[in-house]
Amino acid sequence: MTKRDLMQGTLDLLILRTLSGGARHGYQIARAIKASSQDVLQVEEGALYPALHRIEARGWIEASWGVSENNRRAKFYGLTAEGREALEDNARSWAEYVEAVSRVMEHAPEAS
């Protein structure tokens, strides 16, 4: 299976989704997305951190410093109430999008 890069909006969605289970720090987020997509989705650090900071600036996630499982200081991100709403909205748009695309694919003309 090939690995795929993520579109920016999609990355935001995946970050929010990952954080819906509780606060995590950047490295954990990247690892979780990779793991839960069964290694299909690869998150570049170069994309992850700008995305996190952008989302934080919107007020969807909040950051606080804490101690990681490795006993290291790390910046943890958690969903705000708005973030939860945003997650649902984005999930919905995404679902519509997927539904629309898959419908197009299903209805593609049959080869004769």
Binding site: L16, H53, E56, L87, H107
Partner: protein, 869 residues
């Protein structure tokens, strides 16, 4: 370096450290791991810059989202969803609009006709006070008895009597034949109304036997006949040749319920010295404070017993109170109102079921979307909220359309019922109707919205994304089956109800009224005392009739004071001389009319024995009479009535010889037993107001009608003539109420049948689509197309059968509620039931067969590609 940058540095450092930890844990050398981590991470400085600007951009672009935004967002999303499927949305909206429109329309109607209080003060305390004959029939009251009641009764705060009479209004304008009401002076007190302008009658003006020459006019007449003349009070009316001073205008609220279109009111001057046998007053009273009907009834009964014994009149008669509401609105109208409202509610329910069904189908096709969204963390409450928003938006849209529809429908329905249904002209879509509409929208939202939500719950507990659409166990489908069964059941109920009304209407309209209404014209003439005494009247009427008879196309002319279905009537008592009882109270109550020669012919009535009246009948001392069949049969059962003698009124009354027997007339209430009737020659009793019945042959009735008036004016200049109508109109009006009920209900039944069909069709079509893979496989394994079709239809046969069984159960209950509205049709009329059920079966078969046939057309190759919508 600013603090933000420092924080980013620290964060990146932490990331790298964790990565290194991982790599080391996988067995990497720490230094190599650090190098690899840094390499993976990319350009630190550039990343820092990007993060900084991302932060800035994010702040600029996004404010805080409010809760309202959430709702708006939901609404926009719902609207988008609805727009995306215009077919689905249009169907659902139209269905809801029909259901909601019907409900709001009928609710407006029922409110105006049934629910609104009578337009009088404390209307619950108003009662009609009636006499009751020994046979139990309601009867009017004589003037002396009314005077006794007025003087003695303490249970009533006030009591009044009224009687309607034909009269001639000579001024203002051309002489007109009108109806005037003679009322006792307390009429407005009893009703609790104030005159519009001026004053009501005083006790002095209502002196026994000498009513003052004063008049009041109706509000309606003031507006139309008197051009809203502000100086009307004090002006003079020439009524029957006598000048009457107008003292006031009746309040607008008096309306038409009690006094119809009567334009002029004069004092009654009830006279205690008049004949106690002459009953013609209608008595209306207001119960006193702290007095209930039972108390008043008891007082009245004991008083009346004393009066009867004292005078030896009305012996064996009783009295009865009837609430004004029951009399003026009528029990059948009220019952019909509720029946129609119930039918509208059933239709609404069917519409909801249909939409719920549609929504469930759609929810199924949206399962992928739902699964994905749920997987991506949309909470169940959030999705519920959003599904609900969609249902609410749709219900609101349907409600808006429905209310707009009601605005259009109410005036139409008003016109349909205008002929006979009291107060229907007051029906409007008002605030309360709109509130009902709003409430209905709420209920519809709940009713329709709940189905897909319940489905969502099942689904979320059930299979995952990949398998949801092919799930074999499908509780939603079972629910949909139940919903469609419900629709079938409701269709049965509506059809049975409509069928019963239809059969009843048919029976009623095929009742022989005893005369032929087709080919007749009717017009009233009025000969007031001041100009024509009884001798002159006896002269004029034959002259007028002869003149009209001479018009081309006219075949017969006759006259009577009581036009068919005019609601009026004269009553007295007779007994056969050979079996005459000792007391007048044991005489037989009869209707009677004075008629001219030619009357039976003009009416098209069948002569059963003897002869009709001749022009010399009633000239001498002899009193020849013609009687109706039932009176002949009652007086001389099994014998010939011709030549026998009847006694008029009491044992000392005049003796009358029966010269003819005619068929009975059912011209009071078409559906009731015809009254016993006796006809007396006009020459003997020349009534002042007569209705001429003109029978014509083939020719154009309009031109005949146009010719009558000038011809009469030629013969008797200045004779007041009323409007020309036709007996067909009267007959038509007599069945206006059942016709109205039938029209509305059959509209509902048709809509209901259509909704039921759509439901069944939709479900079957959906089944076929869902089972395409299965059908494809069966077909490729060699199943015959017909057996596949049967397979699909089998489920729906059970759906239909269950619906019919439930529907029959409910309809049995509903039909009993209809009983009061039925004429000569049993609630369990087998023809109706068989037809209704047969229709449902046939329609269901069609609605199932058409989509099921589609199953035969499935190509085996489609089996794997079935998830198309």
């Amino acid at each position: 370096m600013n603090p933000g940058d420092r924080e980013i540095d620290a964060e990146f450092a932490a990331h790298l450290a964790h990565r290194v930890d991982d790599l080391v844990a996988q067995g990497w050398d720490r230094e190599e791991a650090e190098a690899k981590a840094r390499e993976e991470f990319g350009d630190l400085q550039r990343l820092k810059a990007e993060s900084r600007s991302a932060r800035a951009r994010g702040r600029k672009r996004f404010g805080r989202a409010s809760r309202l935004d959430g709702v708006l967002h939901d609404l926009r999303f719902a609207a988008r969803q609805l727009r995306r499927r215009p077919g689905f949305t249009a169907t659902a909206l139209a269905t809801l609009a029909v259901g909601i429109g019907a409900t709001v329309t009928i609710a407006s109607l029922v409110k105006a006709v049934v629910l609104d209080p009578l337009p009088f003060d404390e209307p619950d305390r108003l009662v009609f006070v009636d006499m009751v004959t020994p046979e139990g029939a309601r009867f009017s009251v004589s003037e002396p008895v009314f005077v006794d009641w007025e003087r003695e009764l303490r249970s009533f705060e006030s009591i009044t009597a009224l009687v309607f009479r034909g009269a001639t209004l000579r001024s203002p304008g051309q002489p007109r034949s009108i109806t005037s009401a003679n009322v006792s002076h307390r009429l407005l007190d009893v009703l609790g109304l104030e005159p519009f302008v001026g004053r009501g009658f005083t006790a002095e003006e209502d002196q026994a036997g000498q009513p003052a020459r004063v008049a009041m006019i109706s509000w309606e007449s003031w507006r139309t006949d008197f051009g809203s003349d502000p100086s009307i009070v004090g002006s003079l009316l020439n009524l029957d040749g006598a000048l009457h001073e107008v003292v006031g205008v009746m309040p607008e609220r008096l309306g038409k319920m009690l006094t119809g279109t009567t334009p002029v009111f004069v004092p009654l001057g009830a006279d205690p010295t008049l004949d106690r046998e002459d009953h013609y007053l209608e008595v209306l009273a207001r119960l006193a404070d702290n007095t209930d009907e039972a108390t008043a009834s008891a007082e009245l009964a004991s008083l009346q017993l004393r009066i009867s014994e004292l005078h030896g009149v009305d012996l064996g008669w009783t009295t009865r109170l009837q609430p004004a509401r029951a009399r003026l609105i009528g029990p059948t109208v009220e019952r019909a109102g509720w029946v129609l409202l119930a039918a509208a509610a059933v239709l609404l329910l069917m519409a909801c079921v249909n939409v719920a069904n549609l929504l469930m189908v759609r929810a199924t096709t949206r399962e992928t979307e739902m699964s994905l969204r749920q997987a991506l963390g949309a909470s169940r409450s959030r999705m519920t909220r959003q599904l609900f928003t969609e249902s609410a938006l749709m219900a609101a849209g349907g409600g808006l359309l429905g209310v707009l529809g009601a605005y259009t429908a109410v005036p139409l329905v008003r016109r349909l019922g205008a002929a006979r249904i009291p107060r229907i002209d007051e029906a409007v879509v008002d605030t309360s109707a709109l509130l009902i509409g709003l409430g209905v929208v709420g209920v519809v939202t709940l009713a329709c919205g709940i189905a897909p939500i319940v489905q969502l719950r099942w689904r979320s507990a059930g299979p995952s994304i990949g398998t949801a659409r092919r799930g074999a166990s499908d509780p939603a489908r079972r629910v949909r089956g139940a919903l469609v069964s419900m629709q079938v059941a409701m269709t049965v109920v509506l059809l049975v109800g409509t069928g019963l009304l239809f059969r009843s209407f048919e029976a009623l309209t095929s009742v022989d009224p005893g005369f032929r209404a087709e080919g007749t014209l009717a017009l009233s003439i009025n000969m007031p005392d001041d100009t024509w005494d009884w001798r002159a009247r006896a002269q004029i009427v034959p002259e007028v009739m002869e003149a009209v008879q001479g018009l081309p196309g006219v075949t017969a002319v006759g006259a009577t004071p009581v036009a068919p279905f005019s609601g009026g009537g004269l009553a007295n008592f007779v007994a056969p001389l050979d079996r005459m009882p000792d007391r007048a109270s044991d005489f037989t109550p009869v209707h009677w009319r004075t008629v001219t020669p030619g009357f039976f012919e003009a009416m098209g009535m069948e002569q059963l024995a003897g002869r009709a009246f001749r022009s010399d009948d009633g000239a001498g001392d002899a009193s020849p009479v013609v009687i109706g069949r039932s009176l002949a049969e009652r007086s001389w059962p099994g014998q010939d009535a011709i030549g026998r003698t009847l006694v008029w009124g009491d044992p000392a009354g005049s003796r009358m010889t029966v010269v003819g027997v005619v068929e009975d007339l059912r011209d009071v209430q078409l559906g009731e037993t015809p009254p016993m009737i006796i006809y007396r020659p006009y020459r003997q009793i020349p009534w002042a107001t007569m209705t001429m019945i003109v029978r014509y042959d083939g020719a154009d009735p309009a031109s005949i009608a146009a010719g009558i008036r000038p011809r009469i004016a030629e013969v008797v200049p200045g004779l007041p003539i009323g409007e020309v109508s036709s007996l067909t109109d009267n007959l038509h009006r007599a069945v206006a109420e059942p016709r109205f009920n039938l029209q509305i209900l059959s509209g509902f039944a048709l809509s209901g049948l259509l909704l039921g069909l759509v439901g069944l069709y939709g479900l079957t079509a959906y089944d076929v689509r869902k089972r395409v893979p299965e059908i494809g496989i069966r077909l490729s394994l060699g199943a015959r197309p017909r057996s596949v079709m049967a397979l699909v239809m089998k489920d729906r046969i059970w759906t239909t059968a269950a619906g019919i069984v439930v529907g029959v159960g409910v309809a049995v209950f509903a039909a009993r509620r209809l009983e009061a509205l039925l004429y000569e049709v049993e609630p369990l009329d087998p023809v109706t039931w068989a037809t209704a059920i047969g229709l449902v079966v046939a329609a269901s078969a069609l609605a199932t067969y058409v989509p099921a046939r589609g199953a035969m057309a499935v190509q085996p190759s489609h089996a794997l590609n079935a998830d198309t919508d």
